[in-house]
Amino acid sequence: MAHHFGVIRFPGSNCDDDALHIVDTVLADRGSTGEFLWHKETSLGQVDALVVPGGFSYGDYLRAGAMAAHAPIMEAVIAFAKSGGPVVGICNGFQILCEAGLLEGALTRNESLRFICKDIFCRIEGRPTPFSKSLPAGRHVGMPIAHAEGCYRHPDVERLEGESQVIFRYCDAEGGVTAEANPNGSINNIAGICNAAGNVVGLMPHPERACETVLGAGGVAGLALFESVLETLSSGATR
């Protein structure tokens, strides 16, 4: 069954090509297609799932994601999310979804005050979402991070935890959630969360950079996120 992804393109998005490459080329044989959606548009057209990609939308000049959250297309994105459509925000996309109010909490400057680009591990937890369904909870996977503002903060993190909305948690190579494995100072080692309904997911790690063995360290754990959505859509579980 064919499924169509929209990849939102803000001025300053720079992982947009990367995301499109996965949904339109790498997963093409799984019936996946994709297109860019320009930030000045007000309608999404016919899409089955949305990717809000990484980068530096509007230069991140006010606050990461703050300007993009008010772009013309965001009204349609919010409507799509409210109607149960699967939406994933990666890195800057996560920041944008928080700023737009689709996800709770905020991402602040890394504890080290430095940009960090490296491979990390994170554990899959929480409730099943369209993006983590096919990954068994408790398993840990390798993915890269690349951000300066990834330190997750939430005023009532116990509630978030209680609602099983924490989906990805930084861990070490053995799966242990330790302070040393936390690259940016995020509370409770949180790397990614979902909304109350479970259809909107945001994460700081880059699954789209971990889909092809030829690239760098060569893990393909990220592919499972996109495959999850395809499976979810095929089963007709959303919308």
């Binding site: 530096f56 430095r114 940009f115 680009c117 880059h206 789209e208």
Partner: protein, 744 residues
């Protein structure tokens, strides 16, 4: 006579950096006194930075031709064919002076400038690299400069969205007062869609696009053409401020415009801004331009023609479009929310005429400006060379505790792991990075062949051992080229072409000029032999503070091609049981080695010379083996010699140990273990591939010596059957990985 602004005379010209005879030449060329704006324009165009007046006669001796070369030096960047209708566009450029004064913005705008040079030509940047040189780690300014420069390089490239895939960081006393920030960028283009800086077609409009012009960076090019002395901090306002977000928009808009049939010529406004851009575009096309400055988008009120022409505000482009099609261009820029305006037109006058509100402020012949000046400055072999030529090892004790010496070497600032630096750079964005920083001495990015989608690889090596060049300017420069070549070969790439960034002291000193000329001779000879022509480059002179020059540092950037991405090889050992061998000569030499400097404080002797007849065979053997995909790992043995290389291969992947057995010692132990020399490779391979490796080595007439195998949790080295080193991998890792955190 154009009258406005302060009165122009020889004294004012001198304040602008023009020597008395240069001012005279200007007046003769014009047949009158220049106006104030004209003086400003000419002073930057004739600065060392823009005119290459001291270096031109030497640069023209460099080889720049080859069947693979589409565009050589003279354009914004060099263009090289990589088959399948594709081309790579690349160049390296310095931003040394601004980075010393204001490290964050200086380094950031260095990256921004080189990226613009590349996408100006129609290429999408797909990789950057940077070579950084700082003073002694103990020097009071080093930590501040290091933090600022790395953050500046990182923040600009990260936001702009191009992976930083390789480069190097070296500390040396000679950079205490003059750091080096050399940025390299490589882009991918269609080989039949290359854009150039031509202002042709009389009547065609000239379009200004991008950031508004402010008062920043005025006389930046002049600043980069003088030595530093006390009070140089006052030049800080001449450093520009970067906006990577603006540049990202400019990139996308320009590439979109280049898909249309609208553009005639395009050039970025870099050093000397609107001035050099308009002059060079007119001179290349043999045309003239007339500018109407009142239309230039301005950031500040009341800017004068002098300021508008000399501003080095970043993220600006000048382009010539076909008359009648300007609206198409303006529409695309509006889509990307960019300021754009028609600021002039192409004429046939051969002149650059600058008007504001119809009044003429400058009227200058383009060729007079662009051809600039040309000096054959006096050269004399510097005396220090006699003092450093002979190395006496009588006072240097051979290591008694080899393990301790190795740990010391791995912790040396110039050997240790640099992940503190490259983890601040996004080295993976754009889903193309196949070999990351730290995985090999070259970075490799994937390129899709457009028709079939087949994956090729483009490899980039960048660096220079300036100690070698200091000790032996000619031979050291040959070695810099050979070393970049070896870096590419080690990852399985066939080298194609070269860019250089030549950092030297004050060319008005005969000793420096001699170093420069010898270095160029060395680079030229090596590039001719290896068939890697120089297609672009940059010269940075006057890297001196209070009369102390840097070590001569001709940075070499070389680009190679992997026909098939699957033949890529990285440095780290992959699996226990793999055999380890040295391809090429086993031992190096101690002259000019990192070991002598770091462990004994000696910078003397001659580095082992590059021998084309002998070493080209080693390169050929390595390329044959990587093409056959029979190597599990490969690394060229460079700074720190054999034992540092083995350690890096142990730590480079899964942190595997190795058992090494070296033959009976003929000379010194330290020479065997830490000696350096060109074209030596450490490789590993499976038992099944051992016969093929041996056959290819002997087929090429190259030495291959198996020295051990991968395995265990220790590095064990025996020499002549006697165990001389037994260190846990964890100890090596501690020495290698945790140094930088401490020195930063």
């Amino acid at each position: 006579m154009i009258q406005h602004g302060p009165k122009v005379d020889a004294a004012l010209a001198s304040e602008h950096g023009l020597a008395a005879d240069e001012y005279e030449k200007l007046c003769d060329g014009l047949g009158r006194d220049p106006s104030y704006t004209e003086l400003g324009v000419v002073s930057v165009m004739w600065s060392e930075h823009c005119s290459y007046k001291s270096s031109r006669i030497h640069l023209k001796t460099l080889p720049s031709d080859g069947p693979q070369v589409i565009e050589g030096p003279g354009e914004n960047a060099g263009v090289v064919d990589i088959g399948d209708g594709q081309a790579v566009v690349f160049k390296m450029e310095s931003h040394n002076h601004p980075s010393f004064l204001e490290p964050y913005q200086g380094a950031a705008t260095g990256v921004g400038g080189i990226c613009r040079d590349v996408f100006t030509m129609g290429a999408r940047p797909i990789a950057i690299a940077d070579c950084l040189r700082f003073g002694n780690t103990e020097h009071e300014r080093t930590s501040y400069l290091l933090h600022g420069v790395v953050a500046g390089v990182g923040d600009y490239g990260n936001c702009f969205g191009v992976p930083n895939v390789t480069g190097d960081v070296v500390f040396d006393d000679s950079y205490n007062g003059n750091i080096l920030v050399n940025a390299f960028c490589l882009g991918l283009a269609k080989s039949d869609r290359i854009f150039r800086g031509y202002a042709s077609g009389v009547g065609n409009p000239i379009l200004y696009v991008g950031a508004k012009t402010g008062r920043d960076g005025i006389h930046g090019a002049t600043m980069a053409s003088a030595e530093f002395a006390e009070g140089s901090d006052e030049k800080r306002p001449a450093v520009q401020v970067g906006d990577p977000f603006m540049e990202k928009l400019l990139l996308e808009a320009c590439l979109e415009l280049m898909e249309e049939d609208v553009l005639v010529g395009i050039q970025d406004m870099g050093a000397a801004g609107l001035t050099s851009c308009s002059v060079e575009m007119a001179a290349r096309a043999g045309s003239g331009v007339e500018l109407h400055l009142e239309n230039v988008p301005m950031r500040e009120e009341g800017m004068t023609p002098y300021e508008l022409m000399l501003s080095e505000s970043q993220e600006r482009m000048l382009m010539v479009v076909t008359k009648g099609k300007e609206q198409k261009a303006l529409d695309i820029f509006a889509k990307w929310d960019l300021d754009a305006a028609v600021v002039g037109e192409v004429t046939e006058s051969g002149k650059v005429i600058v008007k504001m509100h119809k009044e003429v402020y400058a009227d200058l012949p383009a060729t007079l400006l662009a051809e600039g000046l040309k000096y054959d400055r006096p050269r004399k072999r510097p005396d220090y060379l006699d003092e450093v030529a002979y190395l006496t090892l009588d006072s240097v004790a051979d290591p008694t505790n080899l393990g301790q010496t190795l740990l010391e070497m791995l912790a040396a600032p110039n050997i240790c792991d640099k992940s503190w630096v490259f983890e601040q750079y996004d080295h993976m964005v754009r889903h193309g990075t196949v070999v990351r920083p730290g995985q090999a001495s070259s970075g490799v990015v994937r390129v899709f062949e457009p028709e079939s989608g087949r994956s090729k690889g483009v490899a980039i090596a960048a660096g220079c051992n300036s100690r070698h060049v200091y000790l032996a300017p000619y031979e050291g420069s040959r070695l810099a080229v050979a070393s970049a070549y070896a870096d590419l070969v080690a990852v399985g790439a066939t080298p194609l072409a070269t860019t250089d960034c030549l950092n030297f002291g004050n060319p008005e000193k005969p000793g420096i000029m001699w170093q420069f000329a010898e270095s160029i001779r060395g680079i030229g000879d090596a590039c001719r032999l290896l068939e890697t022509p120089i297609v672009s480059g940059n010269v940075s002179l006057y890297n001196e503070t209070d009369g102390e020059a840097i070590k001569p540092t001709p940075m070499i950037g070389m680009v190679g091609l992997l026909d098939d991405i699957d033949q890529v090889v990285t440095a780290g050992f992959k699996e226990a049981g793999h055999r380890i061998a040295v391809v090429g000569t086993l031992a190096g030499g101690l002259g000019g080695s990192e070991y002598l400097k770091h462990c004994h404080g000696i910078e003397e002797g001659a580095p082992v010379a590059f021998d084309m007849a002998k070493h080209s065979k080693v390169f050929a053997a390595m390329l044959e083996m990587t093409k056959a995909k029979i190597l599990s790992s490969a690394e060229d043995v460079s700074d720190g010699g054999l034992l540092c290389c083995i350690s890096e291969c142990c730590l480079g992947g899964e942190a595997l140990g190795a058992n090494i057995s070296l033959p009976v010692l003929e000379g010194r132990l330290d020479e065997l273990c830490f000696g350096e020399g060109p074209a030596r490779f450490l490789v590993s391979y499976t038992d099944e591939n051992a016969a093929s490796v041996a056959r290819m080595a002997s087929g090429c007439g190259v030495g291959l010596l198996e020295i051990g195998c991968v395995g265990g949790r220790e590095l064990r080295v025996s020499v002549g059957g006697e165990l001389r080193l037994d260190e846990p991998i964890d100890a090596l890792a501690r020495a290698f990985h945790y140094t930088f955190e401490r020195i930063s």
